[in-house]
């Protein structure tokens, strides 16, 4: 765009009414005249749109956003402003009465004052634990700290790698068994087709046995090849990518979409989102 075109368009926009004047640059530049006409039409259409009211909660959200940094200070101040509440007098009377009654009747559970005057026996397990700790302090210390450590979970990638390794091993085993079966079949073929017979037989009988073995071995090889083909051509499910777990929640309201994402969806879909919204 030429500098004079840019200046002309800026001038019209600054004027607020993008209407091409009959004289000046607009009268000699067809592109700028067309732009002015198109922009004027756009402005007219915009003026016909109903004025949208801001939602009621906008004011509250603006205040909250502007004052967000002072939220903690306000909370601390609010707590500090709270008055101290003293216990009711009747509670003191109840406590005094309880103490006096506890001292007077031995059948009741001992009160705190009584317990202070008695020797309390520690449980026997505590003695044992103390003895062990004194005898082997380093071992006890290690046990105590190891026990308090959080159990670490194996990363997801390790699980995937193990799964892939297992799959490889299984594939190798399968391939080995197929190879073994193939070599057995070929040995059978050779034996049937001309290899050394295990025991002497007549020529006709030998040919019949050889032919039968050849056919049997051939069928076995064909079956194995079929299985191999099915194995190789089977659809392999894609590995799920590792990463955080994603929970998908279906919603019907598109209002949460960022404006440019909504525009992207509308542009790519031809305007479906706008129609649903309108």
């Amino acid at each position: 765009m030429l500098p004079q075109c840019q200046a002309f368009r800026d001038m019209l926009l600054d004027a607020g009414v993008p209407q091409a004047p009959a004289t000046g640059h607009g009268s000699v530049c067809a592109a700028c005249a067309s732009w002015a006409h198109s922009t004027e039409r756009l402005a007219r259409q915009l003026q016909t749109l109903p004025r949208a009211a801001a939602p009621a909660e906008l004011e509250g959200r603006v205040v909250a956003a502007l004052q967000a940094g002072h939220r903690q200070n306000r909370a601390v101040q609010a707590v500090a402003d709270l008055g101290r509440i003293s216990s009711p007098a009747v509670l003191d009377e109840f406590v005094d009465a309880d103490l006096e009654e506890g001292l007077a009747s031995p059948a009741r559970p001992p009160s705190l004052l009584e317990l202070q005057g008695r020797r309390i026996q520690a449980p026997s397990v505590l003695d044992r634990l103390v003895r062990e700790e004194i005898a082997e302090p380093s071992r006890s210390l290690a046990r105590r700290y190891l026990g308090s450590l959080r159990r670490k979970r194996a990363p997801e990638e390790l699980r995937l790698r193990v799964a892939v390794s297992i799959q490889r091993v299984l594939s190798a085993q399968r391939a080995l068994s197929i190879r073994t079966a193939l070599s057995t079949g070929v040995r059978g073929l050779r034996r049937g087709a001309g290899g050394q017979p295990q025991r002497p037989i007549g020529l006709d009988a030998g040919l019949k046995v050889g032919a039968r073995r050849a056919v049997g071995a051939g069928l076995a090889v064909a079956a194995l090849l079929f299985v191999l083909g099915v194995f190789l051509l089977r659809p392999t499910p894609p590995l799920r990518p590792h990463g955080p777990q994603i929970v998908v929640e279906q919603v019907a309201d598109p209002s949460g979409l960022p404006p440019f994402a909504a525009a992207l969806l509308d542009g790519a879909s031809g305007g479906l989102l706008s129609v649903e919204r309108l």
Binding site: A30, A31, A33, S34, W35, S38, L42, Q45, T48, L49, P50, A68, V186, L189, G192, A193, G194, A214, A217, G218, A222, L225, F226, G229, L233, P238, L239, P241, G243, P244, Q245, I246, V247, V248, E249, V251, A252, D253, P254, G256, L257, P258, P259, F260, A261, A263, L264, L265, D266, G267, A268, S269, G270, G271, L272, L273, S274, V275, E276, L278
Partner: protein, 345 residues
């Protein structure tokens, strides 16, 4: 050791039909013609190459009708409108919405819709209509059958192609292409039973237009498309984006752009993936500014994302590891969720 030709011959006789059968079952890339001659095939492949990016390489102006049909929240819905599209053959373009035919809306809402269409003309021109976006991925994922049918669209003779994904799908495209320049004059996206999903059709077309009065599109979102092959680095994008490490088989990255949210000026990275025709968008924001009253803590066990379905499109949106992410495409929601998952540790 004595050689034994009989078993080998028998083995070969058994293996050969099996291999032939396997090869016959393979769904290889083919551009079959009605005649099947080599020259015809060459011509067909040339036309496919000509179609790649034709709208940006051909000068034209015409009136186009767009139709879309889908099941919305309140039952079957339709959208039909008319627009004038202009392109100068060097990459400049404009779309002027003309009229909204369906649905019937009050004048104010109709004006609003047409205004919005004008605002997003750049996105519509680039992403809405059928296009071969990358010939290699197209060849890998689609079959194109040249039916041999000659049809007339907007006064021009066109070749009719049936285009369908190789893997089982319920959709296909019936595309009428101008053989002289590769422009798609009419594209029908339909279900296997012929139900129309979307249609884009030129009603008139001028290949030598006077474009002096056309105001070409200018980006309003500050979107900057990076040159192909650019590294996804903070130097190029202003921040280091989280990008999917695993994309659906047969899909590849065809476009990377940087854009700025006009509301909070936060930069976002837009990654566009394609299977040759269809598109999938992965849009991720720069990390938000940390605030002192947000306590750091371990990541949650699971992140929740919102899923919205609009026609054939699914949109997933959420905040993962402190970053806003939006993914949209015509794929299943789980596929899109996997795309998000693979982008984060």
């Amino acid at each position: 050791m004595r050689s034994s030709p009989r078993p080998l011959a028998l083995l070969a006789a058994l293996v050969a039909p099996l291999l032939l059968g396997l090869c016959a079952g393979c769904d290889s890339w083919s551009a079959s013609t009605d005649t099947g001659h080599a020259a015809g095939k060459l011509e067909s492949v040339s036309l496919l190459h000509l179609m790649v990016g034709a709208t940006k390489k051909v000068e034209f102006q015409g009136v186009r009708r767009y139709e879309a049909y889908w099941n919305g929240g309140s039952g079957p819905q339709s959208l039909v409108y008319r627009e004038t599209v202009s392109a100068d053959g060097t990459g400049q373009f404009a779309i002027e919405p003309q009229e909204l035919i369906q649905p019937a809306l009050p004048p104010a809402q109709t004006a609003q819709f047409l205004l919005l269409q004008k605002v997003r003309e750049g996105l519509s021109f680039r992403y809405r209509d059928f296009e071969i976006r990358d010939i290699d991925t197209f060849a890998a994922n689609y079959t194109a059958i040249f039916t041999g049918q000659k049809v007339t669209v907007a006064g021009r003779q066109a070749e009719r192609l049936m285009i369908q994904r190789r893997d089982p799908t319920d959709r296909r495209f019936v595309v009428d292409v101008d053989p002289d320049n590769g422009l798609v004059l009419r594209a029908r996206e339909e279900l296997s039973d012929g139900t129309l999903v979307a249609l884009s059709e030129f009603e008139s077309l001028d290949l030598s237009p006077d474009l002096s009065g056309v105001v070409f599109h200018q980006s309003v979102s500050g979107e900057q498309t990076l040159p192909p092959g650019s590294a996804l680095t903070s130097q190029n994008l202003g921040f280091q984006p989280s990008t999917p490490r695993q994309v659906p088989a047969g899909w590849r990255l065809i476009e990377v752009a940087k854009l700025v949210d006009p509301i909070d000026d936060r930069p976002w990275a837009k990654l566009v993936y394609s299977d040759g025709v269809e598109l999938c968008f992965f849009v991720v924001a720069a990390p938000g500014q940390p605030t002192f009253h947000v306590q750091p803590g371990p990541p949650p066990d699971a992140y929740h994302v919102r899923s919205l379905a609009i026609g054939p499109w699914t949109v997933l949106q959420g905040e993962i590891a402190g970053r806003d992410v939006v993914v949209m495409g015509k794929q299943d929601g789980q596929v899109l969720a996997d795309l998000i998952r693979s982008a984060f540790p």
